[in-house]
């Protein structure tokens, strides 16, 4: 099944919603010049994407969560890692977009490490608000903070793509949303200086950097400044977690994408009294959990995003 969403005038809301529906069942997204095209289901996609840089996004594992929405979050993380190990196209590395643990307990971090390390890939982390429950953010930084700035932001390069991990879950202000803060934004501006506009950029952070649904806190207060620094680049992909469901938005050359959780789903914006864990039928749970596979093909400026549920 092929969808082509490039109508020459950008992507309509109706078409985006159509794609969102399909994303949950494994549609391949190819991004060319900021315009997404969904090319087919996972089976075709994996075969077509055998070259270039491939990495995985895993998010919101909430190790330690044991409530009715999923009494065994560690188990579903293990299933996700099993799926990663079985991939035909091996990723170069994994990024984890936060909420590794549910309550920032040392035992939860240990369990997460034990399971995720079984995939045998480098993992680049950013924290979620559940990982920084201790005042000093010591538990997270002791494990994942080496070589990072502030509460854990950093950048690195792979295959000509510049990756930027941002932290928007600390020092949150009353009545506000996610927060990057002045120090981190100044660092970001400096980090991007001197890079050519043709450098593909991938930004990853826990809370969405676009206003998904501010009434539930799903957005980042000062993201506009970060996006301003990024607007001169021809290909920007922003990967987030936090909302435990797939959403995508394209704005100019920036593609925003949120990943599924490996622990529990959350309701679509405004469809429930609160964004709390969504209890679904046991046989449906694994269709709402999963990981995201991202491929960049050198020279073509294309970046493909495939969401892979634990169970279709």
């Amino acid at each position: 099944m092929i969808f082509d969403h490039d109508d020459g005038r950008g992507v309509s809301r109706r078409k985006i919603l159509e794609c969102m529906t399909w994303a949950g069942t494994g549609v391949l997204w190819t991004i060319a010049g900021g315009t997404p095209r969904s090319m087919g289901i996972i089976g075709e996609a994996a075969a077509a994407e055998a070259s270039g840089l491939t990495f995985l996004q895993i998010s919101d594992s909430h190790v330690g969560f044991d409530k009715p929405a999923n009494p065994n979050a560690l188990g579903t993380l293990e299933e996700a890692v099993g799926k990663i190990k079985a991939l035909r196209v091996k990723p170069s590395f994994i990024i984890h977009t936060g909420d590794i643990t549910h309550l920032s307990k040392p035992s939860e971090f240990d369990d997460a490490d034990r399971i995720i390390s079984q995939a045998r890939f480098d993992v680049h982390y950013v924290p979620g608000e559940h990982d920084v429950l201790d005042e000093e953010v010591k538990l997270y930084r002791d494990r994942y903070g080496r070589g990072t700035k502030g509460a854990g932001w950093y950048s690195f390069d792979a295959n000509g793509v510049h990756f930027i991990g941002l932290v928007n879950v600390v020092d949150l202000k009353a009545g506000s949303l996610g927060n990057l803060g002045n120090e981190q934004l100044e660092w970001l501006e400096d980090d991007l200086k001197g890079r050519t506009a043709s450098t593909p950029i991938v930004v990853f952070a826990h809370i969405p950097l676009w206003s998904v649904y501010p009434a539930w806190g799903w957005g980042t207060e000062d993201a506009a400044r970060a996006l301003d620094y990024l607007k001169r680049f021809g290909s920007v992909t922003v990967l987030n977690g936090h909302i435990h469901q797939i959403m995508q938005k394209v704005e100019g050359n920036v593609t925003f994408h949120t990943a599924m959780s490996t622990a529990f789903p959350q309701p679509a914006p405004g469809t429930a009294p609160s964004p709390g864990p969504l209890k679904v039928a046991d046989d449906k749970l694994r269709s709402l959990l999963g990981v995201t596979d991202v491929t960049f093909r050198r020279g073509q400026q294309r970046l493909a995003i495939i969401d892979q549920p634990l169970q279709r």
Binding site: K67, P68, A69, H102, L103, S104, E129, H130, L133, L172, K173, A174, G175, S176, L177, P214, A215, W216, G217, P273, S274, P275, G276, P277
Partner: protein
């Protein structure tokens, strides 16, 4: 909700007056003056509560997600409250105390503390 809290206070104030008048009267339970704020569906309920100085306010988290109770003026801050966990703070000075959840900062609330000798108390 404010009315209920107010009625509890009036009853407590009367009990305190009786206690003061007769030293042999059995001690009234201290918690009668206290009040509770539920954390439910990512909201504080009641969002704004009015109490007399000296009242202990207890927050209880009924969500499946942890929350905190964090004073905007840094007067108090709970640890992360898991499901069923409670946090208490005793307000001794009249004023308005704004607070929020430091994990989900769109969740805000306020405790308004009135002087203990205000209209509810019997002199």
């Amino acid at each position: 909700m404010t009315k209920i809290v107010s009625n509890i206070w009036v009853a407590t104030a009367l009990a305190a007056a009786v206690l003061a008048a007769a030293a042999t009267f059995p001690a009234a339970p201290v918690q009668a003056a206290d009040t509770e704020v539920k954390i439910h569906n990512f909201a504080f309920a009641p969002q704004r509560t009015t109490v007399k100085a000296g009242t202990t306010v207890t927050w209880i988290n009924e969500d499946d997600i942890p929350h905190t109770v964090t004073s905007s003026s840094k007067l108090f801050k709970s640890r992360a409250l898991d499901t069923g966990d409670k946090f208490s703070f005793t307000f001794t000075t009249p004023g308005t105390y704004e607070y929020f959840c430091s994990l989900h900062p769109h969740m805000t609330g306020a405790v308004v503390v009135e002087a203990a000798t205000g209209s509810g108390a019997t002199q």
